[in-house]
């Protein structure tokens, strides 16, 4: 691979990683549940593109597998599953966050800064793109924020999935080819099962509590 090509790949990856971060921030301010699910699908699509670029420019066949699985699982299957669940249990569409949009945005700006500061000493170790590690850590931190800012069970599942996207980005950025295929497969499989288990629990919680609000889950103390 010549240096020009390598530079091109690197720039594409930087751009797409930045796109993932922008989508994450959109999710922080977006209040409609179904839109949130679509945004997650779009974010996963960008991750797929990153994996495909890595596979193409580095001739790494097994990364195509990763790209394909991400496309099938995170862009199509999981959003479809979540959508169906939202419709089936007919929940109130709007998310009721703890912080309003402005405060959330400000906080996430701070978290982004923190993510980049944490990643700063390690930028020399990145092999693809610029500041992709910083972006990955920011996805983790804002994912945590999403999780505690939103009190509906299903939005917590979405937050968890964005954290997962962050991990995958870090894996691609730091080790060129992602992880060995068996590990990637295992992680993918676990993720699918995790969302199904979470979905089942959401359903049971809904049946028992007649609500999806996690604030109602507060009987156990001490």
């Amino acid at each position: 691979m010549n240096p020009l090509q390598s530079e091109l790949a690197s720039q594409w990856i930087t751009l797409l990683a930045a796109g993932m971060l922008v989508i994450q921030l959109l999710m922080v301010v977006q209040r409609m549940l179904l839109t949130n699910i679509r945004l997650f699908a779009l974010q996963s699509l960008m991750l797929t593109a990153i994996a495909a670029i890595v596979a193409y420019f580095h001739n790494a066949a097994h990364v195509y597998w990763v790209a394909g699985l991400t496309l099938l699982g995170k862009v199509f299957f999981l959003p479809w599953l979540l959508n169906r669940q939202v419709r089936r249990i007919q929940i109130h569409q709007e998310i009721e966050p703890l912080f309003n949009s402005t405060a959330s945005m400000l906080l996430c700006g701070g978290l982004t800064l923190l993510g980049y500061i944490v990643a700063r000493p390690f930028t020399s170790l990145e092999r693809l793109g610029n500041n992709t590690l910083g972006t990955a850590i920011t996805l983790l931190l804002t994912g945590f924020f999403l999780m505690f800012n939103r009190r509906k069970a299903i939005t917590q599942v979405l937050a968890l999935l964005t954290v997962e996207n962050g991990v995958m980005l870090a894996a691609v950025a730091l080790s060129t080819y992602g992880m060995p295929l068996v590990v990637e497969l295992g992680i993918f499989f676990d993720l699918m099962v995790a969302v199904m288990v979470l979905g089942l629990l959401v359903y049971r919680i809904r049946e028992t509590f007649a609500s999806m609000d996690v604030d109602k889950l507060s009987q156990l103390k001490g």
Binding site: A153, S175, L217
Partner: protein
């Protein structure tokens, strides 16, 4: 002859078999048989790792077992067998009382062997990424077990468990990725091996900053799943709301299996950095857990939550033992893992019997006089509690003494004194709490025949093993623990 693959396959097959079986009796037997076979296999593994080259590998090093893994395999087998012996009769009583449906009981017998197979994979996988997804698999299979009763509280506990557990595991995956990145060769374009044994060989060449960052992520991540304070908040909920056989497995081995994963990273970090970085962190979190558990034990009102907090304290002590890093304290910590795995299930089994007889776990409502209503349960519980509080002649007394004396001998006076204080506090706590329910005359008439002599095989097996191994440790066991101690202590 292959040894590791059958250990993984037998419980997984048993789980799948239970999917198609109709009769509950057959499902119970399938579970008991599967764990009986794995126990036999784990004894063979124990012998195998004691012969040179002191590690068993299979499928081109994809699976690997050294003394530390063999020790964990043994603990998992024993606790699973005990729990499955107890589970059959426990659920029969639950079904009779209408507390669960037949479908849910089937769910238990399917998921429990899969949960166990997941734990076996954690300790037998050589690849750190595989270890991660095996841990995730144990979390996912056990969360449905926690939610088995479908009560409001058990759903709440399951939700907390799965959300906090998944977050923790996401952090641990970040740490795992960082560890992998540290091993990537900057020059070559080939994918490096992600095997722990390979990483140990090249530990000196790994990027130290990356390894440090990775360990912090892994500690917080796996620490959450292992129930270290302050990330333990899910632990008392999940352990108290689960059915008693599941509580026994969660407290008895699942915590230690997660700790094992953390230990693998600790060993790697120490080999790479050559500094006390990771063991100091373990020490701090261990002490924190012990001190957090003690007050909660003293003021606890729920019997199973009391036992869960006691597990938190014991996990803390194990971390402290490893953090102190003298050969004696590490040995003490390993010994502690073993004795705790034999003690805690008995307590949960007894708590299960009390729950089914009194229909509550609130100690105020249970009231005095359990010994009159359920004499055998009360005796077993009393003995196990004496062991859990660290009274002689039970093993936990010796393991605690080993950690303490090792700590004092190595000159860690402050830490050892703090450990002693925390141990004393929880000793008083558990003793005080149990005197509120075990002795005396019952104020409320209870129907005792619900749980007459049923649970004797399970409790007898565990207590018997505890008493025997407290006074007599067979040489192979001793050797395995010594080898495991050397692996953790970094002695080659």
């Amino acid at each position: 002859m292959t040894l590791l693959t059958p250990i993984l396959i037998v419980p997984a097959v048993a789980g799948l078999l239970c999917l198609v079986l109709r009769s509950r009796r057959a499902m119970e037997l399938a579970n008991v048989f599967a764990f009986g076979i794995t126990l036999a296999l784990s004894l063979r593994l124990l012998a195998a790792v004691l012969a040179p080259p002191y590690a068993v590998t299979e499928s081109s090093e994809f699976f690997r077992a050294d003394a530390l893994s063999a020790w964990m395999v043994l603990l998992i087998s024993v606790v699973s067998l005990g729990s499955s012996l107890y589970a059959g009769r426990y659920f029969r009583r639950d079904l009779a009382a209408g507390a669960v449906t037949a479908g849910r009981v089937k769910e238990f017998f399917v998921l429990t062997p899969i949960f166990t197979a997941g734990m076996f994979l954690v300790v037998l996988a050589n690849n750190l990424g595989v270890m991660w997804f095996a841990l995730e698999a144990t979390a996912l299979s056990s969360v449905l077990l926690v939610a088995l009763y479908n009560r409001k509280t058990s759903l709440e506990a399951a939700w907390k468990y799965v959300i906090l557990g998944s977050l923790g595991l996401a952090l641990a995956l970040f740490g795992t990725v960082f560890t992998y990145a540290a091993a990537v060769d900057r020059q070559s374009a080939t994918l490096p091996s992600f095997n722990w044994s390979h990483l140990m060989l090249v530990a000196g060449q790994l990027d130290p900053r990356m390894i440090k960052l990775a360990f912090v992520f892994v500690l917080v991540g796996y620490g959450t799943k292992a129930g270290l304070a302050p990330m333990h908040t899910w632990l008392p909920d999940a352990h108290s709301e689960a059915p008693s056989p599941t509580s026994a497995m969660l407290s008895g081995v699942s915590l230690k299996v997660t700790l094992y994963a953390l230990l693998r990273f600790h060993i790697l970090t120490t080999a790479c950095l050559g500094t006390p970085f990771s063991r100091t962190l373990l020490l701090v979190f261990g002490l924190g857990s012990m001190f957090l558990a003690a007050p909660f034990i003293l003021v606890q009102t729920n019997l199973k939550r009391l036992l869960a907090y006691s597990s938190l304290e014991h996990v803390g002590l194990i971390c402290v033992g490893i953090g102190l890093n003298s050969p004696i304290t590490i040995f003490g910590a390993l010994l502690h893992m073993g004795y705790h795995a034999l003690t805690k299930p008995v307590l949960f089994f007894a708590a299960g019997n009390i729950h089914q007889t009194c229909h509550t776990l609130q100690m105020r409502l249970i009231g005095l006089g359990v010994a009159k209503v359920l004499p055998l349960t009360a005796v077993c519980m009393g003995l196990a509690a004496a062991s859990a509080t660290g009274l002689p002649p039970f093993g936990l007394f010796f393991s605690e003494l080993t950690v303490l004396s090792g700590g004092f001998a190595a000159g860690h006076i402050l830490v050892s004194t703090l450990v002693l204080a925390a141990l004393l506090a929880s000793f008083c706590g558990i003793l005080y709490q149990l005197t509120r329910i075990l002795p005396g005359t019952p104020k409320i008439a209870r129907n005792a025949n619900a749980a007459a002599l049923d649970s004797v095989p399970a409790m007898g097996l565990m207590l018997g093993a505890l008493v025997v191994f407290s006074v007599w440790l067979p040489t192979p066991l001793l050797e395995v623990m010594e080898r495991a101690r050397d692996i953790i202590g970094g002695v080659q």
